[in-house]
């Protein structure tokens, strides 16, 4: 039987192959459209469009990469950064699976469970979107109805209510300070809203790590 290290090395090797290949594959779409329709990009639009969009999203992407990798594990990271929806789907699904099976995220079982959960979630998401695209005509009036709009607008509070109560109650000692900080910041700073919550995740993570380290080293509160 392979050792844990051999398995992880194999995941990383395949992760690199898939990751670099997917970078190229995703760029195929715009270039193929150019070739098929004989179109040339609007260079001014491309330049200014990239200038207005890329710097912020590349900066956020770099910070998110370093923040989420330790939470997602190896297989989970290689999958999640391709399929997206990390904080609102892939990470919650992995956390829920770890919690239900009572396995630690940094164990080999944790690596396997989170990879399985994220892979299944990615497959199901892709299939549901395909179904939605095929059935767009009958589904559109239902899913975009005014009656259902409030439910879809509140998906994040509904998701983190359930997830939060489990993780905060289990780790209340390390959760007090970051939850208070985030409540104060989000209530008092008008610029913090649904569009900026992603940027606040690394802030919350770094603050929690700092407070936990302080409590661990300087007090007996976490014993």
């Amino acid at each position: 039987m392979r050792t844990r290290e051999e398995y992880l090395n194999s995941v990383h090797r395949w992760g690199k192959i898939w990751g670099f290949s997917m970078t190229a594959v995703l760029l195929v779409f715009p270039f193929a459209v150019c070739l098929i329709f004989g179109a040339v990009p609007n260079w001014r639009g491309l330049g200014f469009g990239l200038l207005a969009t890329a710097p912020m999203y590349w900066a956020v992407g770099i910070i998110e990469t370093f923040t989420y990798i330790p939470m997602l594990g190896a297989g989970g990271s290689y999958l999640s950064f391709v399929t997206g929806n990390i904080s609102n789907l892939k990470l919650p699904v992995a956390l829920n699976a770890l919690e239900q099976n009572n396995v630690k995220a940094n164990s080999e079982e944790g690596e396997i469970i989170s990879t399985i959960a994220i892979a299944v979630s990615s497959i199901v998401t892709t299939l549901i979107i395909i179904l939605g695209v095929i059935l767009i005509v009958p589904l559109m009036p239902v899913l975009q109805s005014e009656a259902l709009a409030p439910a879809f607008a509140q998906i994040l509070p509904a998701l983190f209510g359930g997830l939060g109560v489990v993780f905060i109650s289990r780790n209340w000692k390390i959760a007090i300070a970051p939850v208070i900080l985030m409540l104060v910041l989000f209530i008092l700073v008008p610029a913090l809203n649904s569009g900026t919550v992603g940027i606040m995740v690394p802030v919350g993570v770094l603050f929690t790590l700092g407070v936990t380290r302080l409590l661990y080293k300087k007090t007996s509160f976490l014993d």
Binding site: A39, A153, T212
Partner: protein, 245 residues
């Protein structure tokens, strides 16, 4: 070939790329299942993980379908289908498409028929601006997770606290977000309370499921507790919005 944002050839292109993305997920799923068998993990645990992950994903995935529909009004169906099946999100794609369109003197949301040049410009901005995670992860993942393993070998308790802190840090940011519009309540705008109440409905459902599971000894309740809390929380938003808006 005459261009249209819903041209059949665009559907074929998007479908091929999405199929490759799907294959990647299947590949890692099979790889993880094979390893699980090698180290003797219980089949029931794996089955439960697959079942609950699939059920939990349904509602967020339907929300993504709604986003595809929203974007399709301007960009046609194939591009939003592709973008939201890979790294994209509604907010990111809207910002990227708006920036690209305004740089070309167009207005996003106006429903103007795009030509091939405008379309490909938008597609390039949307794709290139968010690629960073896909190529950066292969470069840093092994080293970063190797550091975590070294930390675990050196101080197991700190390693566990470190991992919990990561999760709590992320969750605390989203808890803060839930309360971001509460400040407006003082001025008479009660709609800022909607996400707060939805959050608590979901939290109460989860807590009740946990208590019931402990009292009855039926672990099955907790398997479906998170999807149930998500659906009931979202459902509560409908009367809450009617009441507080």
């Amino acid at each position: 070939m005459e261009f249209s944002v819903n041209s059949p050839v665009l559907f074929v292109l998007a479908a091929i790329i999405i199929l490759i993305v799907l294959l990647q997920s299947v590949f890692f799923l099979l790889k993880a299942l094979k390893r699980a068998r090698e180290i003797g993990m219980e089949k029931s645990m794996l089955r439960k993980t697959i079942r609950t992950a699939a059920i939990f994903t349904i509602m967020p995935a339907v929300a993504i379908v709604v986003s595809v529909m929203t974007l399709s009004k301007d960009l046609g169906l194939p591009l939003p289908w592709l973008r939201l099946s890979v790294v994209g999100s509604l907010s990111y794609e809207t910002i990227a498409a708006s920036n690209a369109e305004s740089a070309m003197g167009l207005v996003f949301g106006s429903g103007t028929a795009l030509n091939a040049s405008e379309y490909v410009t938008i597609a390039l901005v949307m794709t290139a601006s968010i690629l960073v995670g896909i190529w950066l992860v292969p470069l840093v993942c092994k080293r970063q997770l190797g550091g975590m393993l070294k930390m675990e070998a050196k101080d197991k308790k700190w390693s566990e606290l470190f991992q919990s802190s990561l999760f709590i840090g992320m969750i605390s940011a989203f808890v803060g977000y839930v309360f971001c519009d509460v400040a407006g309540v003082g001025g008479g705008n009660l709609s800022g309370l909607i996400p707060v109440f939805v959050f608590f409905v979901s939290a109460i459902v989860m807590a009740v499921a946990g208590i019931l599971s402990k009292k009855t000894g039926w672990r099955g309740i907790t398997d479906y507790a998170l999807p149930a809390s998500l659906i009931l929380g979202m459902a509560s938003a409908i009367p809450l919005t009617a009441w507080l808006s």
